[in-house]
């Protein structure tokens, strides 16, 4: 039964992020109560940069590999998102110290939790097995729950943390139940094996061809011939016509849990309250990185496990589910954001709307029978969205101080003249969120909608619906321009009312500048990132029909991992 090769190097990014988290926890112990902790933010930034560097350089690019016996995939897709999460984490660590000092919560645990949650995100995207995925999701989520409740003296922050925690725990339970049902129906938690089971056995069972031997059972026999465990074939025998409803139910529950994490309507109820109450730098991190991790992992899970072969073509309604989620999120998010008086609340609903735009890409992929190259726009969109969102919340947390929070539109009055650079940066972020060139958000939206139009161009039933989705998306995003421009109106056309106290730690301003420059740069010169996102999606490992299907030397997925006979 030979041990799987433990390829420690492949999870080095995860290990580096975790080590820096622990280092910060240890340094915190030796701090005097009153000493400033800002230098820990510097260590965290170094940690994030090192993680991104390790992920980019120690792993040969263009080679996808399954590590730890098919538990995680280290491929271009993992790498590009590792760099995105590290960027988000580093920017948040730069923005946070000033805010934490202002709010009397300057403790090192903040940065440690930030590093741990990024480590969880990395493994979420890399996960090749639902068990790994679940543990990674929990590492990320629990760290973010604690961050949301970080400024505990504020009642709103406690409320935000508590609401997010309780509802998030509920979503985790739903996810776990979904995983259990899928495992019951397919006999495995391995994503690729689930994909094969859905594509082969389960789907064929549905059309009455139950006699056909599943790819999975074949795999198991091959594995048995190699001296692995023989009895696996007996377990695989589970799948059949009867397993179809169970598999669909399980997959639906998994989708519900994802929809919660990315705050798609109708699972968005927690977002406005959590975003309003949580510390502003954390909100930026939640709205950007957590959502990006959810969307990226969902894309992997969906395109490997749920869209494969005959299962993906919409036969069981995945396309319809994503269609409904995308439509509702775009419409509700944009329309409710129109009437918000609180900027954080407005941005919360706008992030719901952005989840809708991202789901348009999923609908397009599903419509084209799981042609995941349609999803490359999504990667770009996530970069543009993450950077602009962290920047926008960075401006809000830089402006806000204790007793004088920057929460409402009126609080931005005249900031554009009093602090010209900050005002300019905020305008860039708003233009990017609204999808107006030359900001990066425009290219992102363009690519996503383009993929949907291209998918519908192939014709077939439902292509009209896809066009309807795109048209609705464009119409509501025009409505969305109103509330984004309202921010700019307050920045430049009202009288100044506030004064921001000088703080010794000025990294927050640099973070805002970096966000603004990146947003503009990606908007003007998107070519390089577009190419690398296409490459990353093309290299996604584990796809049944992909070039990067697990190579011969990589261990076969161990279905279920149950060894009945030793």
């Amino acid at each position: 039964m030979g041990n799987p090769a433990f390829d420690i190097l492949s999870i080095l990014p995860f290990a580096v992020a975790c080590s820096f988290g622990m280092l910060i926890l240890l340094l915190e112990v030796f701090q005097r109560q009153t000493a400033s902790r800002s230098y820990l933010a510097g260590i965290a930034v170094v940690g994030f940069l090192l993680t991104a560097f390790v992920s980019g350089s120690f792993l040969p690019t263009g080679t996808a590999r399954a590590t730890f016996g098919g538990m995680a995939w280290i491929d271009g897709y993992t790498q590009i998102f590792t760099s995105l999460f590290c960027l988000a984490g580093a920017l948040t660590a730069m923005i946070a110290p000033r805010y934490l000092q202002e709010h009397g919560a300057d403790r090192g645990e903040f940065y440690a939790l930030l590093l741990f949650s990024v480590a969880g995100m990395i493994m979420m995207v890399a996960a090749a097995d639902l068990v790994v995925f679940f543990v990674a999701l929990e590492i990320m989520s629990i760290a973010v729950y604690a961050l949301a409740a970080y400024t505990r003296r504020s009642k709103l922050s406690s409320e935000a943390g508590f609401k997010y925690f309780v509802l998030g725990a509920f979503a985790s339970a739903i996810l776990l139940y979904g995983i259990a049902l899928v495992y019951g129906a397919t006999g495995t938690t391995n994503l690729a094996a689930i994909g094969q089971a859905f594509g082969g056995d389960v789907a064929r069972g549905a059309t009455g061809d139950a006699a056909a031997m599943s790819t999975l059972a074949q795999n198991a026999i091959v594995a048995a011939a190699r001296g692995a465990d023989v009895s696996v074939a007996a377990v695989i025998g589970n799948t059949g016509a009867g397993a179809v409803p169970l598999a669909i139910l399980g997959a639906t529950l998994i989708l519900i849990a994802f929809s919660f994490k990315i705050a798609a309507v109708p699972f968005h109820m927690w977002a406005p309250d959590a975003y309003t109450g949580a510390p502003t730098p954390v909100v930026g991190f939640m709205a950007a990185a957590v959502k990006a991790a959810g969307v990226a992992a969902l894309f992997r899970v969906v395109s490997v496990a749920l869209f494969s072969d005959s299962f993906r073509g919409g036969e069981y309604g995945w396309v319809q589910i994503f269609f409904a989620l995308a439509l509702l999120s775009m419409v509700v998010g944009n329309l409710v954001a129109l009437v918000q008086g609180n900027i954080k609340r407005m941005l919360a609903y706008s992030s719901v709307a952005h989840a809708g735009y991202m789901l348009v890409a999923f609908t397009a992929v599903g419509f084209r029978g799981g042609d995941i190259s349609m999803g490359s726009g999504l990667v770009f969109y996530l970069f543009a969205y993450t950077i602009a969102t962290i920047g926008a919340f960075g401006v809000l947390s830089w402006l806000g101080s204790r007793g004088m929070p920057c929460d409402n539109f009126e609080d931005l009055d005249g900031v554009g003249y009093r602090y010209p650079w900050i005002g300019l940066a905020m305008s860039i972020f708003m233009l990017s969120a609204a999808g107006i060139p030359p900001a990066a958000g425009f290219i992102g939206k363009f690519l996503v909608f383009k993929s949907a139009v291209a998918a519908s161009a192939a014709g077939g039933p439902g292509s009209g619906l896809l066009i309807f989705l795109v048209v609705t998306g464009i119409l509501v995003s025009v409505a969305g321009v109103y509330y984004y421009l309202r921010v700019i109106v307050h920045l430049y056309m009202k009288k100044a009312t506030r004064e921001v106290p000088e703080m010794p730690y000025g990294a927050a301003r640099w973070a805002i500048v970096i966000c603004a420059v990146l947003t503009l740069a990606l908007g003007v010169l998107p070519g390089k990132l577009v190419n690398s996102s296409e490459q990353a999606v093309g290299q996604m490992a584990g796809r049944a029909d992909g070039v990067y299907q697990q190579s011969a030397e990589a261990p076969l997925p161990t279905p279920g991992g149950i060894r009945l006979i030793r």
């Binding site: 975790c18 995680a72 919560a105």
Partner: protein, 169 residues
């Protein structure tokens, strides 16, 4: 035959105690009923040859977690007159409808599955199935990555709890 009788006892016990958790007025009674329900579940695990699961169920859930529940209930110190009689609002009505719908969906799916498939026969199992040895073996071979990640998860949980609960910054 004996197996069927035991199954019926444990299954009815689990259902009955779970219902009692919901119906009981005093939270402490609910907690105790939950412990009983966990014991019945553990019995079902034993019958499924998942002996390790059964032991863990009793040690962790019926033991550690329930003690925690009861501590919390005692700390909250809810008096009888503070417990309001449940009223049926429109939200709860919708929730009951949705819950019933979901229940039947799940029940029908599971029924369709169990009626049609060839499940693992008992006699193909090895003697050590469900014991500590094969599980431990799996944990440090095939599942070593999630196992090690769980260590980080626990650390994050501890740090998070301390951050949220400590008195002063």
């Amino acid at each position: 035959m004996a197996e069927t009788i035991f199954f019926i006892v444990f299954a009815l016990g689990a259902l009955g105690f779970s219902a009692a958790v919901l119906i009981a007025k005093n939270p402490i009674n609910s907690a105790v009923m939950l412990v009983c329900s966990f014991f019945c579940l553990a019995g079902i695990y034993v019958m499924l040859s998942a002996t390790f699961m059964a032991v863990i169920q009793i040690l962790v859930y019926a033991g550690a977690i329930m003690v925690l529940f009861i501590f919390v209930l005692m700390l909250l110190n809810i008096r009888d007159d503070e417990i309001e009689a449940p009223r049926l609002s429109i939200h709860q009505g919708i929730a009951i409808l949705a819950g019933t719908g979901i229940f039947f969906t799940i029940a029908l799916s599971i029924a369709a599955w169990s009626g049609s498939s060839s499940r693992v026969a008992h006699d193909t199992m090895s003697d050590t199935f469900g014991t500590v040895e094969p599980i431990g073996d799996q944990l440090i071979t095939s599942y070593v990555l999630p196992f090690e990640m769980a260590a980080i998860l626990l650390l994050v949980g501890i740090v998070g709890a301390v951050v949220v609960a400590k008195k002063r910054f």
